[in-house]
Symmetry: C2
Amino acid sequence: MNTRAHIIQLADTLIRDKGYNAFSYHDIAKTIGIKPASIHYHFPVKSNLGVAVIEKQIDRLFAVIEKYKSKSAVERLDKFLSIYTAIQKDNKICLVGSLATDFNTLDEQVREKLKTFSELMLDWVSDFLEEGRSTELFEFEGSSRTKAIMIVTNMLAIVQLSRLTNEQDFDTVKNSIKQDLIKK
Amino acid sequence: MNTRAHIIQLADTLIRDKGYNAFSYHDIAKTIGIKPASIHYHFPVKSNLGVAVIEKQIDRLFAVIEKYKSKSAVERLDKFLSIYTAIQKDNKICLVGSLATDFNTLDEQVREKLKTFSELMLDWVSDFLEEGRSTELFEFEGSSRTKAIMIVTNMLAIVQLSRLTNEQDFDTVKNSIKQDLIKK
DNA sequence: AGATATATATCTATTAGTAGGTAGGCAAAT
DNA sequence: ATTTGCCTACCTACTAATAGATATATATCT
């Protein structure tokens, strides 16, 4: 892997493991095997790296959205849930949740990029919920955006909360979302 | 207010504003008007302060639980929601959410205290949900603990997420929880 | 009552370490 | 010959934490 991509990947992992303000260029440098100052060649200031991490996640979500474009609403829901399942298995948390916690310490550019990412995610979830309801796969009351927020907040928070309680709580939430949504 | 209590209160606010790793003894010292070293007299190491912050929140929640002991399940739900409403209005986040994000950087003592706090909160919510269902005020499927987790994750995450989206999303979630729960 | 001891709460000064960031050099690839 | 990608060396600022001095109460003993 090229160094730049490697730095982004490690930063992403560190942010979702320890939080934005708890990782340093040193952490990344020692893992890659270069000097901290060399990271500055690729990302002059830390917020540049923060923005790059979010941009990469946006790209990845875009790719998922494209890939699942013509799949059923249930398949798209399962894909959404599987993304968080992977996060939870890795003892990490969602990027949005991590950076939202540190929001008041972030640069304007990082904040704006983060807003773009969260909107993209909410729009995607709203879309497949709406479609699932119109095809009578799903059943729920209120707007699809409201339901999307309810589901996204469940997943965003359970990856955080299950660090304190236990792993099973994650499955409980996942199953509860599906059971609540799928038309009987 | 005595200095010790003042320090705890400021630390609590800072943790829920910027996160545990983004606040320093200096931040607290300059607000109170004493020197950073003086904070060490009250809390030798930072984790001592972290534990004290959680302990104070546990005490406050205990007081709420006691006060609302004999009130209706609906009143207790409203009280629970109002706690998060106050947090959101203040542009802060929930202590559990903030420290869960930084969990992998925390001392064992802080982690354990945090677990105690989250258990207390989940037990309280489970209790009034269960009682609300048995008195036919609430309607929901599955165990009361599962429902408690769903509701707590909604609130924990929406105070974080609404920093990125907009304030109305908070009210949307709050209303959605009540509407979903209250028996028609 | 007066002297003495103790506890409380702060200060100044310092340490060791880490943070993000900059300047300038150098070797290899293009 | 220039760009790329890294290096060494450095800087400033901040971090948590410690040591030791000081001032002021408060309690205890004679």
